[in-house]
């Protein structure tokens, strides 16, 4: 399936038909149900969707951190610089984690070690992955803290995570992610736990560092507003599948899936006149153990036709620049329709 335009930059990460499942008491959960997407070198790509859509599990699958025995990567390929990560041995994979692909999590407090100093947490990775001696690692740690805008880095090295504010801890996480010069950073809701004024600071920082160092980024978020400014391309996920993909500009101007349209319409916006009433997406989020046979969004969809119940649509061309949508009615959809 070749729908996207040829990329300007070489492909860095290519996820092909990835399927990840979890065995739960309620039944088999198809958390990621056959998704394909890629990130080019130096590019910022967003994976957007609500809780349970499979966006975080996608990132964990790339890092091979899906916990057995409940979680299992069933099938698919994850090509990083042409190598299939799913075929690597565990020691080989350990060299990829942190050194090639790094992660930034939503809640920095739970991903930092509370009993190790900030300095030690930074130098540990440098000594293991980069084979630096302790003095060199310390110099690099100071440089990293300065790079992410932590004032007085020498003094800060001796402190513990609890002595940092939420914003400072997230800066620290970014410093740790950058430590081994990775080519790709997976950022899972990197600003969701932060206050709005700090969110802006962190996102500006991530964007400037990614440009300066040429690091590609995958931003995982539930907030369409956050990625508008920072993503080159956006993948929208629903119930384990990608239902729409486009350049950020195209997606927001010209959504071609009823779910994307619904998400954009349901949030009040400061740049628009206040509406008397919000337009929610009706119904409840899907039960992943009991997905309908056809399109998973059908029960909540305002545009559904008979075919939607019978057959799930595949991603198909819906606009310029590799814009694809998995909707039978995508051509019927215009922004005015839903207004």
């Amino acid at each position: 399936m070749v729908l996207d335009c040829p990329p300007l930059m070489p492909t860095l990460l290519e996820v092909q038909e990835l399927k990840t499942t979890f065995t739960t008491a309620a039944g088999l959960v198809r958390a990621v149900d056959g998704v394909s997407w890629e990130v080019n070198e130096g590019e910022t790509v967003a994976l957007v969707g609500e809780s349970g859509c499979g966006k975080s599990v996608s990132a964990l699958s790339i890092m091979r951190l899906v916990a057995p025995p409940t979680g299992r990567i069933e099938s698919g390929r994850i090509l990083y610089k042409g190598r299939d990560l799913l075929a690597l041995t565990e020691p080989e994979m350990q060299r990829v984690r942190g050194r090639e692909i790094a992660m930034v999590f939503q809640e920095p407090m739970t991903s930092l070690n509370p009993v190790l100093t900030i300095g030690r947490q930074l130098t540990e990775g440098l000594e293991i992955h980069m084979h630096m001696d302790p003095p060199a690692a310390r110099v690099r740690a100071i440089e990293l803290l300065g790079m992410v805008g932590i004032p007085d880095p020498e003094r800060r090295l001796a402190q513990y995570p609890h002595q940092f504010s939420g914003g400072m801890r997230q800066r620290m996480m970014i410093a740790m992610a950058l430590a081994c010069n990775p080519s790709l950073i997976l950022a899972d809701e990197p600003t969701t736990a932060l206050d709005v004024t700090i969110q802006a600071q962190i996102l500006e920082l991530m964007q400037s560092l990614s440009r300066k160092l040429g690091v590609a980024m995958l931003i995982i978020t539930h907030n369409l507003g956050v990625v508008a400014r920072y993503a080159d391309r956006v993948n929208v996920m629903y119930a384990g599948r990608i239902i729409e993909r486009a350049s950020a500009e195209e997606l927001y101007a010209n959504p071609r899936h009823p779910y994307t349209l619904g998400l954009l319409r349901s949030v009040p916006r400061l740049d628009e006149p206040r509406r008397a009433r919000l337009d929610p997406i009706e119904g409840q989020p899907p039960d992943l153990t009991r997905l309908p046979q056809g399109c998973s969004f059908t029960p909540r969809c305002a545009f559904k036709v008979r075919r939607c119940d019978e057959q799930a649509p595949e991603l198909a061309a819906a606009g310029p620049g590799g814009h694809v949508s998995a909707c039978w009615e995508s051509t019927r959809l215009t922004k005015q329709d839903a207004a």
């Binding site: 700090i198 802006a200 500006e204 507003g225 508008a228 949030v267 206040r274 409840q284």
Partner: protein, 330 residues
């Protein structure tokens, strides 16, 4: 525009409210200190209106709600509800006040008893407060409450874990409604919900307000949501109220630099708009309420601060009719 509510008879008056917490003095002999969670705030809520209360974490907005509910004992100031000073009421007297004043929490999961069915959760306050004494009538009332919040009678048999986040928040709202309150304090009622569900709950809150003439104190950090639902908006920073105005005035003509910074930080889901927008990224972080800055608490981060700002506390002044701001330069 709805008619202006009677300003002379506010439903709730908060006067000079102060709440300090004492911390520290631990086993390592640290000296301890005083967290100035709320440092003297005044506002009123008119009957039938929604007052939005916004600010970042630690600004004191949740503590304000908890003081009004008397879940915290204020350190100073007065709270007058329906014409009655409730600041010093005892537990027994508070019980009748709490029927008139209910709360909806952010996380419906942790505020619903997991071992009780939805029907039991809704029937319990009706029984405890003696609102509906007859058991069969209670079941009718539960059914009615479920219907009012957009749930079905069969949901009464379910347990909280069997419902989605949005449905659980509907139960939280039904439980508040059961008391037939005049004031509902909504503490981040939609921020834990998925975006597609948030709008459902906001519409529901608005419908219920119109139907039962409810008054809301809507505490939230999401400025877009607050603009949608509020008639007036108050902005807090580090235990102080920095601005208070009608919705339109506050969003179209914010007078305090902190309000302006907050508004400019809100992301807009439109890359073209975002590219054109000027963003005011604040330097630094919110200082500790253990040791707030001198003068105006915002001055270390303020892009327009002058010498006077670090020396003199700016009082909340009425700059234009109904538009209050605590800034020397406003």
């Amino acid at each position: 525009m709805p008619p202006e509510p009677d300003v002379k008879q506010p439903l709730l008056e908060v006067k000079g409210l102060v709440k300090h917490f004492h911390v520290g003095g631990g086993i390592l002999g640290s000296p301890g200190g005083t967290v100035r969670a709320i440092d003297g705030i005044d506002f009123t809520i008119r009957r039938g209106e929604t007052l939005g209360l916004v600010g970042e974490s630690g600004c004191g907005k949740t503590t304000t709600g908890r003081c009004i509910l008397r879940l915290e004992q204020p350190t100073g100031g007065r709270i007058v509800f329906e014409g009655r000073d409730i600041t010093a009421l005892g537990e027994v007297e508070l019980r009748s006040v709490r029927r008139r004043m209910q709360v909806i929490f952010q996380d419906p999961y942790s505020s619903l008893n997991p071992r009780m069915s939805i029907g039991e959760i809704l029937a319990e306050p009706l029984q405890v407060h003696g609102i509906v004494k007859d058991k069969a009538k209670r079941a009718d009332r539960v059914r009615e409450l479920l219907e009012q919040v957009g749930l079905l009678p069969r949901h009464a048999e379910r347990y909280p874990h069997q419902l989605s986040g949005g449905q659980r928040q509907r139960v939280g709202i039904a439980r508040a409604l059961a008391m037939e309150p005049s004031l509902i304090i909504c503490d981040e009622p939609v921020s834990a919900l998925d975006v597609s569900i948030q709008a459902q709950i906001i519409n529901l809150l608005e419908d219920l307000q119109a139907r039962y003439h409810l008054t809301y104190l809507f505490i939230a950090h999401d400025l877009s949501v607050v603009r949608h639902i509020s008639d007036r908006v108050a902005v807090m920073y580090l235990g102080k109220m920095v601005e208070l105005a009608d919705r339109q005035a506050l969003y179209e003509n914010p007078l305090h630099p902190y309000t302006r910074a907050l508004l400019s930080a809100v992301p807009i889901p439109d890359p073209r708009m975002e590219a054109r927008r000027e963003r005011m990224v604040l330097r630094g972080e919110v200082p500790s309420p253990l040791n707030p800055p001198t003068g105006c608490v915002f001055h270390p981060r303020c892009p327009v601060a002058v010498g006077r700002c670090s020396a003199e506390i700016p009082p909340l002044r009425e700059i234009k009719p109904g538009h209050w701001a605590a800034c020397h330069l406003a």
